[in-house]
């Protein structure tokens, strides 16, 4: 059953992701977090500057991907191994500046063999965002 972020309007366009993997508790490890674009004019009364701009259907990205991203982030920001970095960690709150973020993205490109356009960098605010983007780009390959 999908969980929706509160207040986020729902896009009527077909999604690009597959939910097949989401069925059955035994497949939990291969669930993927999907970000859907939102046509917010469907629900004008819910618009506010603080609203998240994506609808998050809750299927988690591979734990392995998130974990690798955390590793690369910790290395770039010289954080101790035991420091708490999770999918929800925001790069800015971890102390990453713009150069750190680009270095991290470059590290991810090399680790996963993908290419991330600079335009996408704006949407990478958390470790989870990076993991989602990686899996999306891997799928496209």
């Amino acid at each position: 059953m999908a969980t929706f972020t509160v207040g986020a309007p729902i896009c009527t366009k077909p999604t690009t992701c597959s939910l097949k993997q989401a069925q059955g508790p035994s497949r939990l490890s291969s669930l993927r977090l999907i970000s859907l674009p939102i046509n917010s004019k469907n629900f004008p009364s819910l618009r506010s500057s603080k609203m998240p701009s994506r609808l998050q259907v809750f299927c988690a990205a591979k734990a392995e991907t998130v974990s690798k991203v955390c590793e690369i982030v910790k290395k770039q920001l010289a954080l101790p191994d035991d420091s708490e970095v999770t999918g929800e960690s925001k790069f800015a709150a971890l102390g990453a500046d713009s150069l750190d973020t680009v270095e991290i993205v470059m590290g991810l490109e090399e680790e996963f063999g993908i290419s991330v356009e600079e335009e996408s960098a704006q949407s990478i605010l958390t470790v989870q965002d990076a993991a989602d983007l990686i899996e999306k780009l891997i799928e496209k390959k």
Partner: protein
């Protein structure tokens, strides 16, 4: 002409003493708005702000939203930097009052479509609305805020000894222009190369920040930052020089690019700082008069020190 109505010269090491600051004693010395031919660069060294009560007073200036954000940050040093950055912006802008006292708490900010912070004024603020443009940049050990009168401005700072995790030439090939890669590759000393990389990065960041765009909207591979000479000179009062640092578009469109003036500094002995300011529309290419940049070190509510012409603000070669 005296820039500050009151320049307080206090030896900076006295700020390390614990002092109690009652709310009523907190006072922001007003500052005159720069002319259209000037820019101001304020900076703050977090390690010099040790007073617990002063930091507590600082928290009271922030909006509830800003305080919430600071509370979410893990790590005392990062929290402190986040707090001080917001305090520096609020207090600095509030000092440029043109029509009566501005409470730094009353200032409102929003972000443009690309995330650049801007001032937001209510309709009834028209009387006391100084035409201030600002941009901020910080590292763990320094916070800088550039201010102009009406001109878009971008500021970026990086620690001079910052290490780059990736291979510099690989990074440059991926994100910079061929011209810039060539220049970097021609530097044989790896440390000099690393420093040139950092200078280039701060200049490019300052440019996209001045434009209000950021790297996502204006990829660094679309424009080249070039220099005309390599001399190092101290920032002096007159500040006259040919434009040393220029920007060129990779696709050959040059029409708007002469509108931007760059200044590259070694700041506080520890950082590279790049400032990019839009030149006045009325100035043509032929009568280029560089805008004067005045550098001031500050601790809000405590004191300022002018750093122009000192070792703390050296115009550096590129």
């Amino acid at each position: 002409m005296n820039l500050l109505r009151r320049t307080v010269r206090i030896p900076m090491n006295t700020f390390c003493l614990h002092r109690t600051f009652a709310a009523s004693a907190l006072h922001l010395a007003p500052v005159q708005l720069p002319s259209r031919a000037e820019s101001h660069l304020w900076y703050l060294v977090p390690d010099e702000v040790k007073s617990v009560s002063l930091l507590g007073q600082y928290s009271e200036i922030l909006s509830p939203c800003e305080n919430e954000y600071v509370a979410c940050i893990r790590g005392e040093q990062l929290k402190k930097t986040a707090l001080l950055a917001r305090v520096l912006v609020r207090t600095t802008i509030a000092r440029y009052q043109t029509d009566g006292y501005i409470d730094p708490r009353s200032l409102k900010f929003r972000k443009n479509i690309h995330g650049k912070p801007e001032l937001e004024w209510d309709n009834d603020d028209s009387g006391s609305r100084p035409p201030v443009q600002f941009n901020i940049s910080h590292t763990a050990s320094l916070i800088a805020c550039g201010v102009t009168n009406s001109s878009p401005i971008g500021v970026d700072i990086e620690k001079k000894d910052r290490k780059i995790q990736n291979n510099i030439i690989s990074f440059a090939r991926r994100y910079f222009t061929p011209n810039e890669v060539e220049r970097l590759s021609s530097i044989s000393d790896l440390n000099v190369q690393r420093q040139h990389f950092l200078k280039l990065w701060t200049l490019k960041e300052a440019y996209v920040k001045a434009l209000g765009k950021g790297i996502s909207a204006l990829p660094f591979s679309t424009f080249t930052i070039k220099s005309r000479n390599f001399e190092k000179k101290e920032l002096n009062g007159s500040g006259d020089s040919d434009p040393e640092i220029t920007v060129e578009s990779v696709d050959g469109q040059r029409s708007l690019l002469s509108n931007w003036q760059f200044t590259l500094l070694e700041l506080a002995g520890t950082h590279f700082a790049a400032v990019c300011v839009a030149r006045d529309g009325s100035m043509g290419d032929k009568c280029f008069t560089p805008k004067k940049l005045t550098v001031m070190k500050t601790i809000p509510f405590v004191g300022d020190e002018s750093m122009s012409g000192t070792d703390a603000a050296i115009v550096c070669g590129f």
